[in-house]
Structures are given as C-alpha cells and as structure tokens.
C-alpha cells in the first residue's frame, strides 16, 4: 500500500473536508462534476459529488494510474471537450440543459461498445470511476444500499418484488 495514498485517503475519509485536487485542474473538475452529477444526480438519494466521488477520482488519477494512463486519461477528457465543441459549440463545462443532455446522451450511448473514439473512451472510463466511486462510498454502502457485512446465513431463494428488477 502506498503510504501517500493511505495518508491522503485517511484524511479524506476521516474528516470529509474538501481537499484540494492533487492532479485535476479546474477545467477537469468542472467537467467531471458536471458529468458525474448528470449520471448520478441528487434526488431522494445523494449525487455523485455529494459522496466525494470527485475527490476519489482525483486520488485514483494521482496515485492509482500509471503516468502513461494518467496522460491518456487527460487526453481523453480533452477529446470530450473537442466533441462538445463540434456537437454543441462550447466546451462541455459551459453547456447547460438540452445541449448538455444531448452531448452526454450521445457519449453515453457508446457504453458497452468495444470500438471507441477518444471522447467516448474518456466518457466510458469516467463513468466507470463515477459508478465505482459512488457505490463503494461509505454513505451509499451504509445508508442507501444498507450493505450487511455479516449476513450470518446464506438464503438461496429470497422472494422479492418483481418491480425491483
């Protein structure tokens, strides 16, 4: 375990204080915040950024990614802006409402595909980070999913409402 990552995350996890991004620049954080909270917006449950997804992505990009992967991640984020410019006439972070929704909808349609253009690749990787960061966060695990750490039994045949599928 990297000592730096441990220290950084311990501080974030313990206090929930806003930590200055380590590698993400303002343009990155603006874009990631917009995309993350479009994918998982605030509703009767918290949004992606409400539970610290932005800070976690910053940590992953800074500490988990290799230098090469970090570099290609930033290139792919830039490609998202290029795509937004060509499709809606402005960088993604400056889009709102319908134009923003259309750009994200267009990028999101590529999820699950194997052959991806740079902007699509950037979006798909970012979505993976957003989903993982959100659903593994403490508030979501404990309060939303109500994850049972010690089930105490295995029941192979639990009846559930079909509407939940």
């Amino acid at each position: 375990m990297s000592g730096v990552a441990e220290t950084v995350w311990s501080a974030i996890a313990a206090q929930g204080v806003p930590a200055a991004p380590r590698v993400l620049k303002v343009a990155h954080t603006d874009m990631i915040t917009l995309i993350a909270d479009t994918i998982l917006p605030r509703s009767d449950t918290p949004s992606a950024t409400d539970v610290g997804v932005l800070r976690w992505i910053d940590l992953v990009v800074a500490e988990y990614f290799s230098a090469a992967r970090r570099s290609s991640f930033f290139e792919d984020l830039a490609a998202i802006d290029d795509f937004a410019l060509s499709a809606a006439g402005a960088p993604l972070a400056r889009l709102k409402d319908q134009p923003l929704a259309k750009v994200i909808e267009s990028l999101d349609a590529a999820c699950g595909s194997l052959d991806l253009a740079p902007a699509q690749r950037g979006y798909v990787h970012l979505k993976e980070l957003v989903i993982h960061g959100y659903f593994t966060s403490k508030p979501v695990q404990q309060d939303i999913l109500k994850f049972v750490i010690l089930p105490g039994r295995f029941d192979a045949d639990v009846h559930i409402a079909t509407s939940a599928t």
Partner: protein
C-alpha cells in the same frame, strides 16, 4: 544413530495445507516435531481483513498499482492478490524464478505461517480409480502405485477433521465423502441441474461445490457467516486453513516447535547411512545458517519449492539432485488448464434473489471419457461456476444516466446469469519440468527455479470442448444469450502445480514409493503436490492432505518399529 544425535524426531518443511497436516499427525503421535516456515507469522486478529469495507481503503479494492506492479508483477495476476490480500503473496523481486521465452508460467506463492492455505480456493474433491488408473490405461506418465481403496480411509480421516460441506451424488468418478450439510443451490441452479440431468440422461451432474467451509459448527470452529471474501482470511476459522486447525492441534500436544523466517536451503545427506542428516536453514532476517537434525524429514513446501530444494541439495552421491537416481526429479510437472466455458441468461426467476454471500459455487462432475472415449482428447474436466444477478456493478458497463438510472442500480438487479468453466486434466510430460537456474538467486542466495511447462494438443482440444459442452448444458437448462468464453491462462495460473517428484511402483520410474517415501533416502517423505503422478481434473488439495496423513501413519509405524 542414537536419539541424542537428533534435535527433533521430525522436521516438516512448510506450514501450509500439507505441512500443517504432517505437523498434526506427527506431533499427535508423540514425535518432537519442528516445522520450518520461510515466511513470517500471521496474527488472524490483525492480518485477516475479510471484513474491511471498500470505503476504508484508498482504491476501494482495486489495488495499489504502483507497488503491485513494482514488487508483485507476477502475484498480482492472481485474483486474490488485491489491495487487501497482497500481503499474503510473495515479493517477486525477492523470490525470482525463470522460464523460457514464449513459455510463461505463473507461480503464485505465499510465504507465511499457513502458506497458501490462507488464500486457497477451498474446493475439495476425492479422486477415483478413473484417475489413479488413467496413466496405466492410456500410457501417458507412469502408473500410480496406489488405488482408490488405499487412500479412501485417509480421505475420510481428513474430511472428518477439516469439515467439508457437500452433497452426496453416488458418482463413481467423483466419490462422495463424509460431508457436512451442503450449501444451498439457487433456484436457477436447481432448475438447471434437473434440466441438464434430463437432457443428458443423468450423464452430466451439476452439484453444489464441495468446500472446506463449515455449514455448521465443527471441531471447535464456527459455521460460516457468509461475509464473502474467504481469500482475505477468516477470523472465525470457518474455512479450513492450517493456522486455524492443524497447527493448533499440533501445538496442543506440546511437541511442536514452529520456526518462522526459516528458509530451508538444503537437505544434508549422510552417504554412509544413506539418510538425510537434517535441514540447513537460513534465518530470513539474520541470514545465519543453522542445521537442524532429525530422524525423519517431511517436505511440504509446495510442489516446485520441494523440487527446488531437492535439486539444490546436490552431493557426490546425488550430483543431479537428492533422491534422483531415477532421473525423474523435476520432470512431469503439471497444472490444471482452466477457465474456458460459457455463460447465459436465465429468465423465469425475476422475483428471486439471494441473501448472504455464498463462498462456493456449483460443480459439474467430469463426464468426458468416463464411459466412452471422446474422439478428440484423453482424460477429462470438471466445471465450476454459478448463478447470480448483477447489482450496481452493471451500471458501469451499459448506457444510462439520471435519477431513474441511479434508482434502478440501487433498488434493482440485473437478469440471472448462469456460467461455468472447465478445470482440465493435464497429461504428464517428461519435458514439462523444473530445473535450477544457476544464474539467478533469491534474496537469500538460494538458486532459483527454472520452470518450463507448456500446454499441448490434448489440453487445447479439451479447452475447446469445455466451451461447446457448457453451451450445450446452458441451452438444455433454458438459457438465452449464450456466450462462449475462451480463456488461455498460462500454466501455473490455476495454482494447482504438481508433479516433479512423482510416486511410482518401481524405483527406476519415480522419486517416491507408494508411501511418499523417497526410494533413495528412506527418512525423506514428500507429501505436497510434487508427489503426484497425474493431475486428474479435481482440485488436488484433498488428495495432498490424505496422502500426507497416510504417509505420516506409515512413517510413525516404521519409527516405532525402529525401521526408520
């Protein structure tokens, strides 16, 4: 030699699956027993991390790439060597090995008290005479010097102690054991089982996995609490490992000395008496050399480590490695080739889910070359898999955004999927071998192993059939969206490496006799995977444990009669 000349009655090299069993059996017989473990001690209260949650670790279980890539580039290819479990795997820089270009071999290793029993897969199956007679029947490898009836009582002996959950099926090729109650199969699995049985007229049997995991309290250990990640340890010792079961039993006798940080570098041989004198040990911390002497030595260090130790124990009498008069030492190394299979989606169970995380899956008993010969390959394979519904994880791999999308991931589940993959028998080949690479040494100066193992035509043909046959079964089960899943894992990746010091009926054909005793050196026993003359297709640890207990019983009898 007089007793006073010995430090111990018995030395056991290794403290894992088989080392723990040797320690227990020997110490319970009253023998003063030394267990040498290359790695450090484990404190379950501190080191077992199965209940740590993703939000408590920086990368949420993904692993810390840089240190893993730098220090564990081989080990981190194992699913269990992740952000939490990596501490149970060796540092590859300190523990190098080599292989030819173009013939990769994954050697996943654990050096700690408990060895790989800490993070093993826990699937335990008896072998049958279909396996013990295979070499003799098709001429590949040498005939086993034992048959099922020789080992059956020892399978029972082991099962009664460790606790094995499973269902009795009455299959000749997969003998039933002394089982604790089975874990439950899901509705999808039960239905698939019945439909497959009907479609293939009883030839293909899907059963619940037979696992060394307790479904009820047993021998002072608590039943499983179904938390999930057994490979990270278990504070209740609900799955079998040596540090929660066999080593405590050995310790209770007052006859056990456990010495961690002790690297067995060489077995010292006394040519005059034609016996092992003892074990030369390097202290992993001080690098000090010490020789421990004993009346009998059991090698339980894992197949390749035991072979490496013998090859590094050269003398004028054994210039090509200790106990190697047959010239077979290091040869006929095997692993299981595994991973190819198929998956599909099953409808009709949308109102069903599960509670708890079952640390087990389904097992499809071998059905190829049981009653009739397959045209494309010899031997056979079993299949392992299971059914599940994807939770929020499915959100990352498909389209969807917004509040409804989020709610569907929180409240909903994906469709039921059913999948399984094959675990196939590997034929024994003389040139699938372990030797010593004199140019490479580990951190403690011990020459490294060079491993040369390749899959051949028989394994390739079997892998292809694994996919086709699983797809057939999924179709019979009523699945849709069936996808073939080819896998090309390198040898070693299954962590069932075995052979290299095989048992044989005559001394010119192998290293060990039918009691796991070295033909050339009677106070040397090898009971880990090195002793195997064929690989069968079943997970092998149960057979290693049974052979260990059986060999101990034989050695104890010989010692009591002063024949050893």
């Amino acid at each position: 030699m007089k007793a006073a000349q010995y430090d111990f009655d018995a030395i056991v090299v290794g403290s894992g699956i088989t080392g723990g069993w040797a320690a227990k059996e020997l110490a319970e017989a009253g023998l003063k027993t030394l267990v040498l473990e290359a790695g450090g001690p484990i404190d379950p209260a501190k080191d077992f991390v199965e209940h740590v949650q993703p939000y408590e670790i920086p990368f949420r279980g993904w692993g810390d790439h840089e240190p893993l890539r730098r220090e564990q580039p081989v080990q981190s290819d194992c699913y269990a060597c992740d952000e939490l479990g990596h501490k149970f795997f060796v540092n590859d820089l300190e523990n190098p090995y080599t292989h030819p270009d173009g013939a990769p071999f994954s050697w996943f290793r654990g050096r700690q008290v408990g060895g790989r029993s800490i993070m093993w897969g826990r699937q335990v199956y008896r072998w049958s005479d279909l396996d013990f007679e295979a070499n003799a029947k098709d001429g590949h490898g040498n005939d086993w010097p034992i048959r099922y009836q020789d080992i059956a009582p020892w399978y029972s002996h082991v099962e009664r102690f460790i606790g094995v959950s499973g269902a009795r099926e009455g299959l000749s090729q997969l003998p039933d054991g002394e089982f604790l109650p089975p874990m439950q199969m899901t509705g999808v699995e039960r239905t698939a089982r019945e439909r497959i049985l009907a479609a293939f007229k009883g030839e293909r049997v899907m059963t619940i996995g037979r696992a060394a995991i307790l479904t009820q309290n047993h021998n002072g250990r608590a039943a499983c609490h179904y938390c999930g990640p057994c490979e990270r340890g278990c504070v209740t010792h609900s799955y079998f490992n040596s540090i929660g079961s066999t080593l405590p039993a050995a310790h209770a006798t007052g006859k056990l000395t456990l010495r961690p940080h002790s690297i067995a570098a060489e077995l010292t041989y006394d040519a005059k008496s034609a016996r092992i004198r003892g074990v030369r040990v390097i202290d992993a911390n001080t690098l000090r050399d010490t020789e421990y002497k004993a009346r009998v030595v059991f090698l339980c260090a894992s197949a390749i480590e035991s072979v490496r130790l013998l090859l590094n124990s050269k003398s004028a009498h054994f210039p090509d490695g200790l106990a190697n008069s047959s010239g077979t030492l290091g040869r006929y190394v095997m692993d299981h080739h595994y991973g190819s299979g198929a998956s599909g989606t099953m409808s009709g169970f949308e109102d069903r889910s599960t509670f708890g995380r079952r640390p087990n899956g389904i097992y499809i008993a071998r059905f190829r070359n049981v009653s009739r010969q397959h045209p494309d390959f010899l031997r056979g394979y079993g299949m392992q898999g299971g059914s599940n519904r994807r939770d929020w994880h499915r959100g990352a791999s498909g389209p969807g955004v917004g509040a409804d999308f989020k709610r569907s991931l929180i409240e909903g589940l994906g469709p039921w999927t059913l999948s399984a993959a094959g675990w196939g028998e590997t034929l024994p080949h003389a040139d699938n071998r372990v030797s010593i690479d004199a140019q490479v040494k580990d951190k403690w100066g011990v020459p490294a192993a060079r491993i040369e193992v390749r899959w051949r035509e028989n394994e390739r043909a079997m892998q292809s059939d694994m996919m086709t046959s699983m797809a057939e079964m999924l179709e019979a089960a009523g699945c849709s969206g069936i996808t073939l899943q080819p896998k090309d894992n390198p040898p070693g990746h299954c962590i069932h490496e075995m052979g290299g010091a095989r048992m044989s009926a005559t001394r010119d054909l192998g290293v060990l006799n039918k009691w796991n005793q070295a033909w050339d050196v009677h106070n040397l026993f090898i009971t880990d995977g090195a002793c195997m003359a064929s690989s069968a297709c079943q997970n092998p640890s149960m057979t290693y444990m049974a052979l260990t207990a059986r060999a101990c019983d034989y050695a104890i009898g010989q010692m009591r009669r002063n024949e050893l």
